[in-house]
Symmetry: C2
Subunit: 214 residues, 2 copies
């Protein structure tokens, strides 16, 4: 699957709330990358950087809702637009998210595009195997959402065929295979330079409000 | 497995280079959390926050080694202390890492402790299934490292028995099961409040320098 093919279809990613939010998250992602090498910066300068970052964190903490309210809101309903904004894999407001650009295609499958840098490294030069698992779990879930019934992961099997490289455009595909009562099966893979790196098969159990509450 | 049991054993986490680095990464982790709700801050104020963060990112980018040098160094050797500092799961300099506190135990197994917040959310109130996969892939790899030969993930099977809750101490265990030539098997699980939430079995292939280079 080429990048161009990934660009076709319906974008499943939620947009950032506004330009200011997008710019702040972009800066946070740059900080995550550079902090990896903070040990190579003189300690006195890092102390100033830490003070600056702490001041911004204090400022922002004072403006967002109280944590208890954030937690309560996050549990209210599973599929709101703001939950999508905070998503760990595709979310424009989650600085941890690479983010993956995900599209739903006419044939019922989904396809995502992402290029990963040093924060996501496992073996030298390669994507951490657990990050590949995270991407595939997410994309299989999205494939279920796009095709019809979706639910929570019950089983996930990953096969690592070759290392997925960093700094290389990756395509992550997912497709719903079957629905049998509440049992949903989906499969997908991560491709780099036209070759499958990691493939996944998953069993999902259709949502039941009781099964996701604590 | 209790938290106290996790606290026993040899700490496998690398320490931050200095206090200033630790403080900067702590602030970055707070920023990741608060930026999730940046849409609820007035846009004019977020624009100021974005400018402040961009200024710090510019400052830090100018002080760390050039990206080409960082990439080259990251590929030089797989198990240096600085690679541990940048690790995605346990690394004190990787703001994405929760971080997991990981210990090697006398019986040859490893055990980690972590409590996850909103950046790692999947279903409401629950850890993202892909994050559980990331933690388990990592801890099974660490179990191999602690017990003897280690290598790259070839197959990983995850069974999700119940949702792993956010804001609750989780224990992540791993144990090497067998070594047969280059084939290494390991298993582990994530526990919350004494119950298994997710279990994993993995097949790993012992390191061969040719297999991880691109």
């Amino acid at each position: 699957m080429t990048e161009q093919e990934c660009a076709e279809g319906t974008e499943l990613k939620v947009r950032p709330a506004n330009e200011a939010v997008a710019a702040a998250v972009a800066a946070a992602r740059r900080l995550i990358v550079s902090l990896l090498h903070a040990d190579q910066v003189p300690e006195a300068e890092m102390a100033e950087v830490a003070d600056q970052l702490t001041a911004v964190a204090d400022r922002l903490d004072a403006r967002v809702p109280a944590m208890a309210d954030r937690i309560a809101a996050s549990r209210a309903t599973p599929y709101r637009e703001d939950a999508g904004r905070r998503d760990l894999v595709t979310g424009p407001q989650n600085a941890i998210a690479p983010p993956l650009c995900l599209r739903g295609k006419e044939d019922g499958s989904v396809s995502g595009a992402v290029t990963l840098g040093l924060p996501y490294q496992g073996p030298p030069g390669c994507v951490h195997g657990g990050v590949s698992a995270l991407l595939l779990d997410h994309v299989l879930g999205a494939a279920n959402y796009w095709a019809g019934p979706t639910g929570m992961t019950a089983e996930l099997t990953l096969r690592y065929e070759r290392p997925a490289p960093l700094f290389t455009p990756l395509t992550v595909t997912g497709r719903q295979l079957s629905v049998d009562g509440r049992k949903i099966r989906a499969a997908g893979a991560i491709y780099a330079e036209g070759k499958a790196c990691v493939s996944a098969e998953g069993l999902f159990i259709a949502w039941n409000s009781g099964s996701v509450s604590r």
